[in-house]
Structures are given as structure tokens and as C-alpha cells.
Amino acid sequence: SLPLPDSGPLIHGEVKSPQYPQPYPPNLLKQWDLNVPEGFQIRLTFTHLDIEPSAGCYYDSVTVLYDKKLLGKFCGTENSANDHHPGYEPILSPGNRLTLVFQTDDYNPERRQNVGFSAQYQATDIDECSAPEPEDGSGPLCSQICLNTLGSYLCACHHGYELHSDQRTCMLSCGGGIFDEPTGHLFSPGYPNPAPHALSCQYVISVEAGFTVYLNFSDKFHIESVNTEEGPNCYYHWLELTVPHEKPVKLCGGTSPGLINTNSNNVTLDYHTDDQGLSNGWSLDYSTNRVKCPVPGVVVKGRVTPSLTEYFYRDYIYVRCDQGYKLMADGREIESFSTMCQSNAQWHLPLPECHIIDCGEPDPLLNGGVRFLSGAENQYLSTVEYHCNEPFYSLLGSTNVTFTCEADRKWRLTRDESFSPVCLPVCGRPTQYIEGYQR
């Protein structure tokens, strides 16, 4: 459909002489200015024409004009013998405008009443691509491929070329753009042959955060440099490397830079040549490596796994404490710990600490007591001894019993047994006996 606003030009219509199909009045001068949208021309067809015939349509006529250029002047009828009738062939305007002028004199023969004319017009797309090359020497409409569209046209380029900003000229393609794959290959236009002049190509390598881009230039590297007193300088041709937060670096000369670690996941290469000189260009393979996090420190009484010489982005490490120790982070005990190497080359959590566990106060023993034998009070592997208040109470089967603070934070008699000591009363053993020595 045509993009015509409601109030815009009509894309088709009808034009009739005054009073048509009644005879037209004398002394008329009426003009119609027809307009259709830009990119279209007007196809005008007379469906009926009955105007007083005269030589050169001298008395009555309908004139078709395009920008004051006469396209036709008509009179007569279909059967009249003059050449002034338009017939049924359409009249095409060169542009999107057309003017009709209907003119009559003051006399009409009485024997016949002429009714004037009726014409239909419609907008027709202009095939700009078929138009002859302008004579002003500006060259063809499109330098390579012209595509006619409804109301307009588009220029396109063959493979390896790209459309210039003037939208009509095709230039050798830079092959630039954004490269977001983990590996890739870039080269300058025409490489290894001399590059076109006046190039301005940009190549952006942008990979996921957490990766570092490595550029590996091939040995064949040639960008024109200018020898100055200070040495070779990239005055007119250069390849500029830019990474965020770093000063850009310009490369030129005949020696390959080899492998460059950019230390960034975003690298921009701008290749520039002016309209003179000679550069054969460059070629490179880029690759990416995960960023490296610092080797985690040592956790006293704990273990960091896995133990590697280097840790990279997305690597996880875990910390476990030795038996009898617990994980502590920010003053709180945690059940487990893991941290990941982040895209900014930092661990997302600092290492925790391992603190010795505490079994708490040993349970008191009714009619008995408990005392520490060894180790820091209540801590892992410290031992306590339970005893009963003898001679009135005794532990079942034993005098004293020793408990150890085990890794499960329980006081245990042995590793496998949880046992609560009980003081049993001693029966029938008074502290004083009835003694009798007399016999």
C-alpha cells in the first residue's frame, strides 16, 4: 500500500470538463493541477473527448502540461479526421505533477453541441533504475546494483563491498563490525594485497566479561610508516588498538606485533589509510582466555580445594576445616563455603577461617562431679573426668569415666558411643561399723 496521508495527494481520480456530459459553456479557461506522491508519475487516459475541432485546436482545447512543458493539446472527437484527438493511449507525466487546461472561445456551432471531455488519472511508480544516467556527470544512480521500489529505489552492492554513506556508491568492505565469538580471524581489506586508499575500518572484539582477548598478528604485517628523526611514525596509515581505560596504541611498520594480551574483553581496532601511500595490511587471529584470580591464601586448620597453580574465571574453590574445626565467616559459623572467581578477576567471597569447635559445658552429674583433665576447656579433644561422690555413690562398673570432646561436638566416652554417666547409690556399706572386741 502507498503511504499516503489522508490529506495528501490522490493516487487516482477523474477530471471532467464543466457541465459534462452536457455541452460545455463558451469562454472558459479552467485549469486542473494534478499531484501524486514523490516517486510516482501520473498516467492520464481520456475516456471521452468531444471538443469543437479546429486546426491546431485553435478555438477550443484541452492542454496537458508538465512544468510548462507541453505534453499534448487536444480537441475533436474520436471519429474526427484530425490528429488532435488523444485516442485511448495514456499520457505519462515525467514527474509526479500534471496540469490540464481547458479553454473555449465564445462561439459554438449550433448544429452540434460538444460535451467536453472526461479523463481518468492514476499514480504509477517510476522505475528510477531505468532512467538514463544524468547528464551532469554525477555518474549512475547506483554504482553497482539499483533496486526499484514503490515510489523510490535502493542501491545495493556486490559481495565484498559495502554501501557508502551517500547510499549510492559501493566501496570495498572493511569486513569490520562486532566480533563476539571466543575466537576469530580478522584482516584488512584486500590483505595481503595493497589496501584501497582512504579506508576507515573499525573492528570491535567484544566477548563476555571474564575473558581476556589475545591478538595474534600474522607475520605478514605491513602498514605504511613515516621515518622521522624520532623513528618510524604512523602518520598517515595506522592500526589503532583501543581497550577501555587504557591509552590507545597505534601500530604501523613492517614488523608483526606478534601476540598481544589486551587484558580486556573489549578491544577496538581502527584501521586508517589516507588517500595516498601503500599498505598491504594485516591479518590476525584472536583468541580468548578466562581471566585469572589470585591464588587463594592458606586457611589455618583447613584445606582449600581444588589446589591448583592458577585459578580462572568461573573456577570454584571450597574450604573445609580439619576435623574438630568449624567454618567461620564474618564472625558467624557457616555450614559450608565456596567462592567463585569473578569476571573482575576477584573471588566473590573472602576466605573463611577455621575455629576449633566447642562441646559446651559437660553435663553436670547428679551426686557426682566433673573436672577437666586436658586441653582447653570444652574444646575439641579436651577431656573431662566424671566421678561420683564416694563412698555413697559409684559409677556403674567403674570409679571414674573420661569423656572427650569429639568432632561432632558431643562429649563421648568413645568415638562410637554416647553415654550418660549415672551415679548409683551404694547400699549397705556404712562408714562406721559396730565394733566389738570383747569376747
Partner: protein, 248 residues
């Protein structure tokens, strides 16, 4: 106790004095919440004495030093087959008293062991009978406030039965001797338990450890020649004691 001696402190730490409606009785500590006594001590004219009427003293040999430090029982458990309607049937004369709070044992208060299942009551086996009951002084009956004891041998059951049978001919209303009882004493008399000792221990010492062989139950007069004291045979009630303690 007739013909006995005053018990030195801490020699009979399981001894308990019961005072029920101004009557004295004895008992023995057997666990930190339990006292063993005779049923007839806590049953009066067929009615079990209410727990609040029972005062329990322990931990000393002198009543004067104990008189303000008594406790009341939490519950009293009389043997279900004890049935003395007329004061003549002492069969199953055994009861348990449960204390409200457990006792912490020390030199003054200590439990007496229960008999082993295979314990024997051999004739001549000497036991220690103790109590705050009636004593004598030159033939006169006396009330004592000091804990007294006497060592008495177990008497042959048949000899004891003959002694009781002889007496029955004179006094038909004499209790019967059953297999739940044993006798202790000497033929010549003069040493015996007596009124107020009932419920107290007849303990036997084996290798320095004492166990509860009997409970002072009944007898014909006290310390009479040819008569013996009769004691409830504790070993016959081990299952009942265990059951009551477990269920309560």
C-alpha cells in the same frame, strides 16, 4: 530393742523412724525415694493411714536431734495380700513408702541393699535388728530416744513353729507363722526386738555389705525365754518391690 546396745552414729544409716498418730514404727531406706516397712505400721484397724499423718525421720540416732526434720510420704503402698482385720494375721506384712523428694545419701543416710535372688536364710545366720522401740532396764520396759540394736541369729523355722504352737495352746488367739516369715532370737531370750521396732530392719552383713533380710513384724511378748521374734522374709517380695517401684 531388748538386750541391745545404743547404735553409734553412721553405723545403721538406713534406719528410719516412723511416727504415725503418736505411735512409733521403724523402716529402712532402700532407694533414694523409697522406704521399706511393715504393713501393720501404716495400717491401723484395717485402714491405711493417710500419707499426711505419717512423719518420717532419718539421718540420726537420737530422736531429739531429728524431731524437727521429718518428711511426709508421697504415697504408701501396702502389699495387696496383707489382710489383718483382727491383729492376728501378719502374713505379707510389708509396705513401701515413696518419698516426695529424693534423698541425697551421705554417711548418715544410706540405703540398705535388697537380698540377692539366691540369698539364703541359714539357721544361725546373724542379723542386726535396730529400732527406736521399747527397751528394758533391769526388767522394766522403757521408752528410748536413742537408736538401739541387737544381733540376733536366724532360728530354725520348725523350732520357731513349735515355740508358737506351744504358746497357742495357752493363747489360741496367736498369729500363725507362714513361709513369708522367719524367726530370729535365742532360746534363752533377753535379746529381741519389741514394740516400736516394727517395720525396722533385720540386716545381714556379708563381707562388709549389709542387705535387708527381714522386717520386724511381730512376736510373743519381748525377750521371753523360748520365744522368738518374727520377721517378714524380704526375699519373698523382691518381685513385688520391683514392680511397685517401677510402676511408681
Amino acid at each position: 530393742i531388748i538386750g541391745g546396745s545404743e547404735a553409734p552414729e553412721h553405723t545403721i544409716p538406713w534406719q528410719v523412724l516412723l511416727n504415725i498418730n503418736s505411735n512409733r514404727g521403724g523402716g529402712m531406706v532402700i532407694a533414694d525415694r523409697w522406704i521399706l516397712t511393715a504393713a501393720h505400721v501404716v495400717v491401723h484397724q484395717g485402714q491405711q493411714s493417710p500419707a499426711q499423718s505419717i512423719r518420717i525421720f532419718m539421718g540420726d540416732t537420737d530422736i531429739h536431734r531429728m524431731e524437727t526434720s521429718f518428711v511426709h510420704p508421697a504415697s504408701v503402698h501396702v502389699h495387696p495380700e496383707y489382710n489383718d482385720q483382727d491383729g492376728l494375721n501378719f502374713n505379707n506384712d510389708i509396705a513401701l513408702i515413696k518419698l516426695q523428694e529424693p534423698i541425697t545419701f551421705n554417711a548418715a543416710v544410706m540405703p540398705l541393699c535388697l537380698p540377692a535372688k539366691n540369698a539364703t536364710y541359714t539357721t544361725g545366720l546373724v542379723g542386726l535388728v535396730s529400732g527406736f522401740g521399747t527397751t528394758n532396764d533391769g526388767g522394766r520396759q522403757m521408752i528410748t530416744n536413742k537408736l538401739k540394736y541387737v544381733m540376733l541369729p536366724v532360728v530354725d523355722q520348725e523350732k520357731c513353729r513349735e515355740s508358737i504352737t506351744l504358746w497357742k495352746k495357752i493363747r489360741p488367739n496367736t498369729p500363725d507363722l507362714t513361709d513369708n516369715m522367719f524367726c530370729a532370737g535365742t532360746p534363752e531370750g533377753t535379746q529381741d526386738s519389741c514394740q516400736g521396732d516394727s517395720g525396722g530392719p533385720f540386716s545381714v552383713d556379708i563381707n562388709g555389705r549389709s542387705w535387708a533380710a527381714g522386717i520386724v513384724s511381730w512376736g510373743i511378748k519381748c525377750g521371753q525365754r523360748g520365744k522368738y521374734g518374727v520377721y517378714t522374709k524380704v526375699i519373698n517380695y523382691l518381685d513385688w518391690i520391683k514392680q511397685v517401684m517401677q510402676e511408681n
